[in-house]
Point group: C2
Chain length 530, copies 2
């Protein structure tokens, strides 16, 4: 596991109150920490910016007050080599400090932040494909320390490479937490003008812990599950903005951060769509690295066409009930589509929380061959009332009890083996079960049908996209049992022969024998490419 | 049938060369026709505008040259009472002419232009609901006179209230036409600086003929089916713009005009998306009445979120294979969704042209309960080589041979009986077969399932939309056989009792007996409302 230099250096800086770093790895964090004024309200009264530059690249980073007289500014260098910095502040002791440092090769586990790649897909900044496979642990950071440790232990062996997590506590899944984002007392006596640095220090550690596991943190800024209990869902707009700025200042240098403006934004009663547009524009502007940024819907889709939204983060269980539907939002937005909630594997009476594992895995595969990404969540009510998590376990973290994660690990293997440019729907309106890259790689998901054979048939893109198929091209095939997690190679090779305007078949008309079970997939690879 | 005064007055004006009208019906056409210069190029050299006003309403209308020295400006008054006008022109004989006229009550058949109503639906300007049910006769205006007459005869008894029709001819479905929109000779010798008034005079008559039948004309400005034969798909941008302006000047006073910027816009190889944005903005700006305006896709959706696009005119056959998918674009655009092409009833080998009538009607019903609108088209290859239409009959017009129009007439009756505000999906992600208006009217489409009974069950909107259901409310039910076109009332009344968080059932647990056939629907109306 990747042990970062970062945590150590952060501690050093906090103790010394001055920057001692002279080098940092690419996409690591270079931090300028200085001792400054403690009188008045340092969160509001003192401005602190640091400008970083090298040759033709310059970034201005907003600093933040971290309590105990310490001001910090964090920088994630995206290029190697020598960098310079210079501070600007309304406080003389924070102003005009300069320095230089070297940005070195990243360690093998550090691929940089995740970006949009090939329109509908993702890749790390160094070009390594990122095949998104997320889960939801909304309030794991609010649980007791041993539950948080258990969550990390679970995630270390789970297939997930993204976790959706809330900054604010949720009323139904959280006991009164020991730490809150603001100073003051619940619920009516918050000092919204003062953040609680201890809360954010802890939250940052959670993000860093995920980073060490190779997991992206999809940080959720707002949600409706406060329902007025603490009032974080109904703060004045200027407090929302200040909170968003402070969060971006603190977190944006963590390479594994994504921004999710809200969970179920339209259920946040005290906010309008225009409020989230304002906050979203603010985050997009303030974040010097342009981390992935989206917002998650309840019943009403957000306008994901807005230019600052990098991908669609959608709740819609029915959309992944077949690949044809799953694909539709790709056509609309021309951006990656992530179905972050498609209902959960569990046993709750509410209909969003009682999918079978089979059904959830089925939805993942439908989304996959449609060129989209699907999210996991688990909602088994605990049978043990004295356990650390009495209800809706995985929202809080802890252990996973479902049957889907093992199958999603299998899917993850398939995704990691798939073309780096991503899986595209190949015949979206006619044969949506075909995903892949034309002429190279095909993944055909047979869903709930239970065929005993499958006639070899490849779609010839009617619009001329991709590598054109030709008579004589050779392919190899495998049968994937997506539930039982087996891969069975089909003997021999398939040689193409045009069938009609829409399809090529094997020149000998070969079919593939199948075990007449549901949840099968066929994987076909061009011999030349693989 | 409505015999307009209009056609007569148009002829008078053309003969006298001066406006003699003193009154016009609301949403009719008041025309100012004047004799002006014939030297040079009247299409380009002479500007001609007419300003119309009454109290607090004023519109500027662009005139056009109609050949033979006649300049016309057409105005569709949207308010009754006295109106004034005054002309402005670069030619002295067309400048400074003034007059007044009265706008009278419209006749019963004249409800004005169709507008968007209730976000996802349509209504005429006078508030009368317009339940869209369109068909495609792309090049009927290019056929021989007797075929055109036959087409109108067919439409007079068909259920359709909208026809999609192209201005430009299509290469595969049109013999060399007697009239073209431009002066000059096919294909390389067009005079793009001179329109052919005779072509447009004829085209207008076709629009007026549809108007008399109560049919909207969805006028398609561009399409890819020229394929360079005449070159209308690859004119220079300034010619495209001039053509769009001329078309708007001539046609926008016809109340039954809709603008469709293109059919299968993304297949028009010589144009980019930005070209259609430019042309669309131009049409939206030039049209004083803001007729419905959209653009139809091939494989790539247009950005229907653009503010000047009034509704989404979508090709996507698979979207209406189930109501859940059909609904998805509503969520995205917040505008009416019209599936103008969902494949055609016919027997062609191409897969877009061989739906069974059952399948096409099935798609209409899926779209209907999802709160969207679906379009018809027919593509039976003629078996009679000497017939007026050798292939793809209905694209050219003539007669309809399919089995779907009768069933669509039945659907039209159901739509006309439905709530005027339109059918909304009532449980979009869970039970998409439920359309209607909560607490008042339910239309439940059972599709291809063949149930022998249906347990009375009404969804209780989880988000609190609409009229809340309560125990004790009473409803009556009918069984609709959408294929055999029968409506069978169910004896007695159903009295609500809450079942669980999501549903109300009948207090006696009653079910409705069904004939175990496909394509059934249940219609449920609240006793209080109907």
């Amino acid at each position: 596991m990747f042990k970062s230099l970062l945590a150590t250096s952060l501690i050093c800086l906090a103790l010394t109150g001055a920057s001692a770093q002279t080098q940092v790895e690419q996409w690591g964090i270079f931090e300028v920490a200085l001792t400054g004024p403690t009188n008045g309200n340092p969160f509001l009264d003192t401005s602190f910016f640091v400008r970083f530059w090298q040759s033709n690249d310059a970034r201005q980073v907003t600093g933040f007050y971290d309590g105990d007289g310490i001001y910090r500014a964090r920088f994630m260098p995206e290029r190697q080599g020598a960098w310079n910095y210079s501070t600007v502040s309304s406080a003389p002791e924070l102003n005009g400090k300069t320095g230089t440092f070297m940005v070195t090769n990243p360690p093998p586990q550090d691929h940089g932040p995740v970006r949009v790649a090939n329109t509908y897909h993702f890749a790390y900044a160094d070009g390594t494909p990122y095949k998104e496979l997320g889960t939801t642990c909304y309030v794991w950071a609010y649980q007791r320390e041993e539950v948080q440790a258990q969550t990390l232990q679970t995630l270390a062996t789970a297939p997930f490479n993204k976790v959706r997590m809330c900054v604010f506590p949720t009323h139904n899944d959280t006991n009164e937490p020991p730490l809150f984002p603001f100073e003051g007392k619940p619920a009516t006596n918050w000092d919204f003008a003062r953040f609680n640095p201890k809360f954010f220090q802890h939250f940052e550690q959670r993000i860093l812990a995920l980073q060490k596991l190779g997991i992206e943190a999809d940080v959720i800024l707002f949600h409706p599950y406060d329902a007025g209990h603490w009032g974080f869902d109904r703060m004045p707009p200027y407090v929302d903005d200040r909170y968003a700025r402070y969060l971006v200042a603190r977190l944006s240098a963590y390479r594994n951060v994504w921004w999710s403006l809200a969970n179920e934004w339209d259920f946040v009663k005290a906010k309008q769509e225009s409020d989230f547009v304002r906050i979203g524009e603010l985050v997009a502007y303030e974040d010097p690295y342009h981390h992935l940024l989206s917002i998650h819907n309840g019943m009403k889709l957000f306008n994901y066409a807005l230019p600052w939204i990098t991908h669609a983060s959608i709740q819609n269980g029915q959309a992944v009930e077949n690949p044809a539907s799953a694909e539709m939002y790709r056509d609309v937005y021309g951006k990656p589509v992530v179905y972050d909630e498609v209902k959960y594997e569990g046993n709750l009476s509410r209909r969003w929380g009682n999918l079978s594992a089979e059904e959830l895995v089925y939805r993942f595969w439908n989304g996959t061959v449609a060129g989209t990404y699907v999210g996991h969540g688990e909602t088994y009510a605990s049978t043990n009332k004295t356990s650390t998590n009495s209800v809706v376990a995985w929202t809080r973290g802890g252990v996973l009890r479902g049957q889907s994660p093992a199958r999603l690990a299998f899917l993850k293997q398939v995704l990691d083996d798939a073309p780096p440019e991503g899986i595209e729907p190949l015949d979206k309106w006619q044969n949506p079960e075909y995903g892949g890259q034309p002429g190279k790689y095909y993944l055909i998901y047979l869903g709930k049908s239970q065929p005993s054979s499958w006639t070899f048939l490849l779609p010839s893109p009617p619009m001329g996209d991709g590598v054109a198929l030709e008579d004589g091209m050779t392919f190899k095939a495998e049968v994937l049992d997506t539930w039982n997690m087996t891969i069975s190679p089909v003997p021999g090779e398939f040689v193409l022969k045009r069938k009609d305007a829409y399809f090529f078949t094997d020149r000998d008309g070969r079919a593939i024998n199948l075990p007449a079970k549901p949840y099968l997939a066929i994987r076909i690879k061009r011999v030349k490419y693989y």
